[in-house]
């Protein structure tokens, strides 16, 4: 009996493990991985770091990871950056940047614009076909009409295109078309027939197929940056309209419900698990595609990426500052390379309509804002993210440096006004105190009471509620998220502002919000000061600066600066690049010098280890990463190797941008 029981239990245990080792009986989300080359997975053969080897040997498989979901693959409606990354590689845009950021032919063989950059005409290459998720040609050609139909698709409110504003407001007639349809859908307009308005698209909207392979965009304003908008916006990617219409709401729900015309197609899409991009054998430039297969593995978080990289399960990983110190003195130290650039800038936003009467009395005073501006030790904040050389994170301008160049190769941030701001070391406790004393002299009486301010209870619930007495020190509420790193930063800000300005003149209080920060804190103005970051969506300073005008979408603090608005309006109408940038630089300098917003560091963080040879693919500064042309080394690249590659690249880039 005892033996029988033992045998039974052993069988149960084995059955349990065997059950665990079986896949689900039927999983419609799992797609075949036909055509995925086996590659020579670098990681499989390299559990330990190899020694530096010259020259580099390359493999044709790239293994990476993703942490956010790919909820849907519809690139017109998605809010997820990862999906935009897939689309950038799988659906061919009209143009693409080379490794220096200069635009080259992609689906368009050539292009031209009129003098004021309001009409752009693209001549497409012929004979390119859409392929399906197995890389088989569908017989449908990529034509000019596909680019027109993309605008037709996103212009219909029923399709729910994401981030439509820029394109909708730029393409002639699209704004009226969109809101005309919306009026019909909402019942506001009961006289127009929807089908009639839809049929009028070709006549009323400024995008036309002049012939089978020529597409023309007519814009409502001068747009010398239009090529970078093509890079940055998914809404200008083509679609095969008959296919999309046939798919209806199913378009892009998985890899089988979309078509491909880019360097890769999605051969495998296991939702929330694994994505495989395979080189498209029918791609017009297939010889430039060096990585044959890109495998993306879903991870629940980034806690295990370092370990996975060490075990060769992925080819690149980010190393956070706390992980960085754990690798010093180990065999991995020589592979630690600093991340070099982020186009995203961190700002301090100030609430110009605060419910806190003390802060509200002071925020409209330029001396007070400058006191804040000079009280922030940017390097100390940067140290939280980059303990080795924090100074490289410091950024005083709104638009990132080395991002936007004029036609002479001059960096936009080197234009007069901004160059001085870029070179300024704002942290100066003496100046901060002096500015604050000047503000106090203007806004308080001799006893330290703030003029026109009485004691009150400030209600900024659900974020904070506190009492103010209408006297010095001025109470300032800084609101952050409950993220551990942000809490540290907030505490640091509190100490440095109070020390620089003086706790007798300012009292910084902290509050931390959970959940949707924008809807809880920013939008209902439940703050005096908070920090946020913004990126430049396309290659024009106006892409960011025009959103910061008095009525701009990003002006969450509701300041009013008519001088700035006028300069931006002037710049937006200017088609000459140098004059345009000079006006933008003047406007930006005005905003920063007046401390209406306080940029302080870039969003750059941490180090990384990689097998990817940098600068081998298109330099996508406004769009998502493109793998075409990228090379994956069989060995991990050392920091020295990466630095040498970077140095040689920067020299070449400078030459290319200056036209040499």
């Amino acid at each position: 009996m005892k033996r029988t029981v033992s045998l039974f239990l052993a069988i149960v245990l084995l059955a349990s493990l065997a059950c665990a080792c079986q896949g689900p009986a039927s999983d419609p989300g799992v797609q075949p991985t036909d055509g995925v080359p086996s590659g020579t997975g670098a990681g499989e053969a390299q559990p330990t770091p190899p020694e530096q080897a010259e020259p580099l040997e390359y493999v044709d498989l790239y293994k990476t990871y993703f942490t956010s979901e790919y909820p849907s693959l519809n690139y017109y409606t998605t809010v997820y950056g990862g999906v935009r990354g897939l689309a950038a590689n799988c659906v061919e845009a009209l143009v693409e940047p080379d490794e220096y950021g200069l635009y080259q032919p992609a689906m368009a063989l050539s292009w031209e614009s009129n003098e004021d950059c309001t009409v752009w005409t693209f001549h497409l290459r012929e004979g390119v076909e859409w392929v399906d998720h197995q890389g088989n040609p569908t017989g449908m050609k990529v034509t000019a009409q596909d680019y027109v139909d993309a605008v037709r698709y996103v212009g219909d409110p029923l399709n729910g295109a994401y981030s439509l504003r820029v394109v909708r407001d730029l393409i002639e007639g699209l704004y009226d078309y969109y809101w005309g349809l919306d009026d019909i859908d909402s019942g506001t307009d009961t006289t127009t027939v929807r089908a009639d308005l839809v049929a009028s698209f070709d006549e009323t909207v400024g995008v036309k197929a002049l012939d089978e392979y020529t597409v023309q965009y007519t814009l409502s304003a001068s747009a010398p940056y239009f090529l970078s908008l093509i890079e940055g916006s998914m809404l200008l990617l083509p679609c095969e309209y008959s296919y999309v219409t046939e798919m209806g709401e199913d378009f892009g729900i998985d890899n089988q419900h979309m078509l491909y015309c880019g360097a890769y197609y999605l051969s495998t899409f296991e939702r929330d698990k694994k994505i495989v991009m395979t080189a498209n054998p029918h791609y017009w430039d297939k010889d430039s595609v060096t990585i044959r297969s890109i495998e993306q593995q879903r991870l629940g978080d980034t806690m295990t990426t370092l370990e996975m990289f060490k075990r060769g399960e992925i080819d690149e990983c980010v190393v956070e500052s706390e992980e960085y110190s754990s690798l010093l003195g180990t065999e991995w130290e020589k592979y630690l390379a600093p991340n070099s650039f982020s186009s995203s800038t961190n700002y301090l936003w100030l609430d110009f309509g605060s419910d806190n009467p003390e802060f509200n009395a002071f925020i409209h005073n330029e001396n007070f804002r400058k006191a804040l501006q000079h009280s922030i030790d940017r390097e100390s904040i940067a140290y939280l993210r980059e303990p080795v050389t924090p100074s490289r994170l410091v950024r005083n301008t709104i638009i990132a440096e080395t991002l936007i160049y004029d036609d002479r190769g001059v960096d936009y941030t080197d234009y007069p006004g901004l160059a001085e701001i870029k070179a300024t070391d704002y942290y100066d406790a003496g100046k901060a105190r002096a500015y604050m004393e000047a503000a106090v002299a203007e806004l308080c009486d001799a006893s330290g009471s703030i003029l026109g301010v009485d004691a009150a209870t400030v209600d900024m619930l659900p974020v904070a509620q506190f009492d103010v007495d209408g006297k010095l020190p001025v109470t300032l509420l800084y609101v952050g998220t409950d993220d551990e790193a942000e809490i540290l930063m907030a505490q640091l800000l509190e100490v440095m502002i109070e020390e620089a300005i003086g706790a007798d003149l300012i009292d910084v209080q902290l509050a931390f919000a959970t959940g949707g920060f924008y809807s809880t804190v920013a939008d209902p103005l439940n703050y005096d000061v908070y920090y946020d970051s913004l990126s430049v969506p396309y290659g024009d300073p106006g892409s960011q600066l025009s959103r910061l005008t008095s009525d701009g979408a990003e002006n969450v603090g509701y300041y009013e600066v008519p001088e700035y608005d006028a300069l931006i309006e002037q710049a937006l109408m200017e088609s000459d690049i140098q004059k345009r940038y000079a006006l933008f630089a003047q406007a930006e300098a005005y905003l920063v010098n007046g401390a209406y917003v306080i940029p302080f560091i870039s969003s750059l963080r941490g180090y990384y280890m990689t097998r990817i040879e940098p600068y081998t693919g298109p330099l996508m500064q406004f769009g998502s990463i493109k793998y075409k042309g990228m090379r994956v080394s069989a060995q991990i690249l050392t920091a020295d190797q990466l630095a040498a590659i970077s140095s040689a690249y920067e020299e070449k880039k400078a030459d290319r941008l200056s036209g040499n």
Partner: protein, 313 residues
């Protein structure tokens, strides 16, 4: 018995309907901004957002939305996800995710029950001796220590020692081992401690004393009498345990990158995906009442002393 089943079925349906309608209506009182991420709020204006909501049918009166859902439900259409997996049919989502979670759940249930019941018997047999102390320590450890700590330790350290993958790969059988073990740690503790408790309780009953006086060995009494009676209070939960193998674990599925249902409801609530929330709530409500119902029937089946209706007695 038949009358009991009929009566109970009707009450179960009523419970499900009340739960579902309540949740459905509460979802319609959520703020409209909840349908958008911070990123979406930043890049869109109020008008565009309202156009989106109207086109999704979210501005229709709640009862008209409820009627639409019920109508589609009976036509076999569960609707499409709104925000978590925009536009993806919920049927497809569930068909993709449930089999993965169920496979892990079934394996861990078998493993957890087997080891848990064995451990419980062992602890009861050697009450207040070393085996019992070690078992109690295990139970207290699993219950008291935040699971993320030891789960992360198992993932990184144990996987390194045993040369097992860090995450789950469907095509690598060895990658199923650690997640299955991790999933069963809690249920091993649960089954062990409850079986021990009920067996120790039973030990003091007269029939046990009588059996011992008759000269039966402790091992025989334990196996033939004590275990049979002690398992009854535990058996009532078995149907629920089996049905809820599809619910998954948020932490373990996240750690091992398992594309299952763990955390799906949480995510749907956070992102205010009404369509997904209402389907999952409906599903879990049905499973819950069914689990309790089947539990009662099972207990009546395994213990002839229990009668479900008065006239049966």
């Amino acid at each position: 018995m038949l009358r009991y089943i009929l009566n109970r079925t009707l009450r179960s349906i009523l419970t499900v309907v009340i739960v579902f309608v309540t949740v459905f209506m509460l979802l319609r009182f959520m703020p409209l901004n909840g349908y958008f991420t911070d990123e979406m709020l930043k890049v869109s204006d109020e008008q565009t957002r309202m156009a989106y909501l109207r086109n999704q049918g979210l501005l229709d009166p709640p009862f008209s939305q409820l009627w639409r859902f019920v109508k589609n439900l009976f036509a076999g259409d569960l609707g499409r996800s709104l925000t978590v997996y925009p536009k993806v049919p919920i049927t497809i989502l569930l068909c993709e995710k449930i089999p993965v979670t169920a496979a892990f759940g079934a394996a861990s249930l078998v493993l957890g029950m087997t080891l848990g019941l064995l451990m419980g018997m062992f602890m009861a047999r050697y009450k207040e001796r070393l085996g019992d102390t070690l078992g109690t320590f295990y139970v207290v450890f699993v219950r008291a220590v935040p699971s993320l700590i030891y789960l992360f330790f198992i993932q990184v350290w144990v996987s390194g020692v045993l040369k097992l993958p860090l995450v789950f790969y469907e095509d690598r059988p060895e990658s199923w081992i650690l997640p299955t073990i991790c999933l069963s740690l809690g249920s091993i503790a649960w089954y062990a401690i409850w079986l021990r408790r009920f067996m120790v309780d039973e030990e003091n009953r007269d029939y046990v004393k009588f059996a011992m006086v008759k000269g039966l060995s402790k091992k025989y009494v334990l196996r033939r009498h004590l275990f049979k009676n002690a398992i009854i209070p535990i058996a009532i939960y078995l149907p629920s345990d089996i049905l809820f193998i599809i619910s998954g674990s948020l932490i373990i599925e996240s750690l091992y990158a398992i594309p299952g249902t763990g955390g799906l409801l949480t995510k749907a609530i956070q992102k205010q995906d009404n369509n997904l929330v209402q389907v999952i709530v409906l599903m879990y409500a049905i499973l819950s009442v069914l689990g309790v119902f089947l539990g009662d029937l099972l207990v009546a089946f395994v213990d002839p002393r229990i009668r479900l209706t008065e006239d049966e007695g």
